[in-house]
Amino acid sequence: MSINYLTPEFVIERDRDRCIDCQVCVRQCANLAHSFDEEDQKVVSDDSKCVNCHRCVVLCPTRALTIKRNPLEFKENANWTPKAIREIYKQAETGGILLTGMGNDMPYPIYWDHILLNASQVTNPSIDPLREPMELKTFLGRKPEMLRVEDGKLAEKLPPQLELEMPVMFSAMSFGSISLNACESMARAASEVGIMYNTGEGGLHRNLRKYGKNTIVQVASGRFGVDPDYLQAGAAIEIKIGQGAKPGIGGHLPGEKVGEEVSATRMIPIGSDAISPAPHHDIYSIEDLRQLIYSLKEATNYEKPVSVKIAAVHNVAAICSGIARAGADIIAIDGYRGGTGAAPTRIRDNVGIPVELALAAVDSRLREEGIRNQVSLVCAGSIRNSADIIKAVALGADAVYIASAALIAMGCHMCQKCYTGKCNWGIATQDPNLTKRLNPEIASRRLANLLHAWAHEMKEMLGGMGINAIESLRGNRLMLRGVGLSDRELKILGIKAAGE
Amino acid sequence: MSFVIIGNSTAAIGAVEGIRRYDKHTPITIISDEPYHTYSRPLISYYLGGKTTEENMLYRSKDFYEKNNVKTMLGVKAESVDFKKKEVILQDGSRIPYSKLLIATGAKPFVPPMEGLGKENIFNFIKFDDVKKIEKVAVKGSKAIVVGASFSGLKAVEALVHRGVKVTVIDIMSRIMPRVLDDTAASIVMETLRDSGVEVLLNTTVEKILGGDRATGVLLKDGSELSCDFIILAIGVRCNTDIVKGTELKTNRGIVVDSRMQTNIPDVYAAGDVAEGYNFIEDKYMEIAIIPNAYKQGETAGANMAGACKVFDKGFIMNSMPLLGLPIISAGVSEQREGISVKTVYKPEKNSYKKFYIKGNNLVGYLLINDVDRAGIYTSFIKDKTDISAFEDSLGSDDFGFVSLPKALRKDKMLKGEVV
């Protein structure tokens, strides 16, 4: 066996003055980075196994541990960065494609951070959310061109709508890619807060059926877990065409993650690989999509809105126009920062476009075509905080999807090792020793806390802008100004530069 | 209304506490021939061994009687009972009337006839007064003979070893603690005794106690003689039914009671070592002379005296006895009989021995030596008649615990009583 050229990415620092050798770290590291030396009666660590997930650091009762980047330097080279070199070592060693988890971590511009919000001064009053009602309720679904009212009553019922207490939903994450406890946590939080969570393509576990009112069931290319009951079980159906982290790429849940429960939920044999093809093999064109949309509507008696989720790619505006005209009630646009349980690194880091630009382009395009009311737009792909949401809504989104933020709320420390199945936080794993680390009681509470906090913040920001209902912000791009953006970017975003 | 309790040990205290759960006010009178505040009988060996003090031998705190509104007549012997008049007759002839009476007179030593019993320096090993006498002669370097290698005899041995007394223990049977230990277990215990310098003579009896006014030795059945400075007789005990001898109160070996601890005479109860309670493993009424049993019987009697309706029908033998640092716990059946299978786990390197007696799907008895942790879980299986078939294989394993149980049973036990 030849030597592995890879050196540890991190170093584990154990303060011996603080360590009490209680072995909590040993018991908690699924990567076996810590062990107890029986001979010396003390805990020791192996840096090479550490993925920097912070599980041990957080649980260490004496705060004896910290993890640092390995200070080992390569000869300085602006082109051949340590990352580039390490990746080559890895591939030369394994012969495999590079895999990664979570969203694109490359230093591309983050447009949210180049957009600033307005606030009222003198000429109109800001509104104090502590004194005045401040409304975040949002309806997703096709809106009629106009209402017909007869004798003071609605003459024609609205098409089916999703009613959200705030314009945020938990984005699609399948049972399989994440643990059932993680799914349940989101389902519980969604039902508590009055929003939606999304099954992803993993089917709907029987224990979660009771959260149907707050569930979007997804139909993806693998069609896992899809049957009439499934379609009926949720409040809406989402056709997943693509995912921001890996546009144009399918999915692959390895057989070892397909245990009894995943198998039953996905309706596939235990231990079989769950492969989602890159395209839906019954959708090779827009008219095929239309057929699927209407098949699903037929199957559910036109009682549930149908969403179509796509990755933000170059031609996103035209594609969304097509999707709207194909009968979708909701379009979810997933930007390139969106997370994933597993994706080829090269795809994740190089394919797709920023969701901010995609969203602005789509909203403008649909308005130009006069069909913006026919669909609701959901912005996904690395919404990090309430300000991102406010900016997304002002750019034109009806609501946003959050996933990475939700996972972080539940404990994810963004080590990006989801694909290993050894998530020490019990999220991206099916190992029963690990999944129980995610207590749905706690995680759902944390999720609800996050949403409540964000709701408060959104209300503050709205109030500052003199707005007391979120819909008055939607597409209200005058509330935005750009900083550090080119004219071209400002134009695409449809916003002015700060100072204008 | 008044409650009278004859006796001042475990069953009596259980009765006081049982009464006071339902009735805070009716006066209680305790009559005992021992002059002491209630103390723990088994602690006499620890007292003798220097492991506890007189103060720490109190079974309940000094203010127990006061707090529970109990009038005590200590050092007063109850001679007999006039069941017709419902009065207890004391040694001095005075009479104590009762509405309800509990007889908790315990046990008395059983001493088979042997020559020379009248000499000095021959002791029983039951009461505090016994060890108060023994401690005077059991000085370091003295030699003692203990007759009887059962529970109390061996506790006496232990105490004497702690005092630096050279001890020889004699038993008629072929192994020590014959009713509890099997050969393997006995050999483990024997080794511990030997390690402490105790000589054990089995299969023999004392024919005659030697000496003048004072005992100086014994003559054994085989004709050999042993010299000693004093002798402790710990051959066994019998129910102390003296007070009701010849009355209409029904007795066998002990006083016959039902599962509410009532005797055949209305308003008269019996509990503790004097009573023949129900042994639910043996499915018969018999004396079960152990503390937990005495307490529960007393408590049951007390509750019923106070007007509640309480039943105690889960009595069975169980004992825990660390001997010279070697823990020994046993419960329930301790001999192989028809219909009972046995499982043993012997780990010589750990000096650990575990033996389980299984009848059908139930555990009916066990013996643990050295590794006694979590023994009570096994006890509960016996008591609850738990179906152990699903986890029988794991009995006695090092990590045996609730984790070994089927999930439903485990959760039932662990979450018991939760208000959801």
């Binding site: 209680c22 018991r27 | 339902y22 029908d313 825990s320 660390p322 009570g376 990590d399 984790v403 009583g417």
Partner: protein, 170 residues
């Protein structure tokens, strides 16, 4: 006839095995809470000449694990079986504690406890060690307080949940 009720609501530490992560922090904190450095883990572990025994049993057979400690039974077998009177139940709180000064380590309580949660403590003289609900530390058990995943919690206990032999009072 009714039993005179206890004045206080009984509480008990329950375990949710579904979310026990097997870290044994409950043990770690229990040890510290019963050491002479109640609020300093490092000193409790590094300075205590002999480490106290944990009063919680962590059972583990992967993937199942859970902590288990004294149930403070309504009808405590350990109290009834105790030969010295050291094991006592507070009539107000229902909490069962062992007076270690009086305990002589006969292990009858270990024999009696149906949950197997009384430990042998050989640190000085041998005594039975058991959960005392951290009454000396304000009654918030350290195991519950420091369980990182809320796998231990304090629950209210129903009256008459622990059947005495022969069932509850009739």
């Amino acid at each position: 006839m009714d039993r005179i009720p206890d004045s206080a609501k009984r509480k008990r530490v329950y375990a949710r095995e579904e979310v026990c992560v097997g870290c044994r922090l409950c043990e770690v904190y229990c040890i510290a809470a019963h050491s002479s450095y109640k609020n300093d883990l490092i000193k409790a572990f590094k300075r205590s000449y002999i480490r106290p025994v944990p009063r919680i049993v962590v059972e583990e057979r992967k993937p199942i694990s859970f902590g288990l400690q004294c149930r403070h039974c309504e009808e405590p077998e350990c109290v009834k079986g105790c030969i010295t009177g050291a094991m006592q139940q507070d009539p107000e709180t229902g909490i069962v504690t062992n007076d270690e000064a009086r305990c002589i380590g006969c292990w009858t309580c270990i024999l009696a406890c149906p949950y197997g949660v009384i430990m042998r403590d050989y640190r000085e003289k041998k005594v039975a060690a058991k959960c005392d609900f951290c009454i000396e530390n304000g009654g918030e058990p350290a195991c519950v307080k420091n369980c990182p995943n809320e796998a231990l919690y304090i629950g209210d206990v129903r009256e008459s949940c622990d059947d005495a032999e022969g069932g509850p009072d009739k």
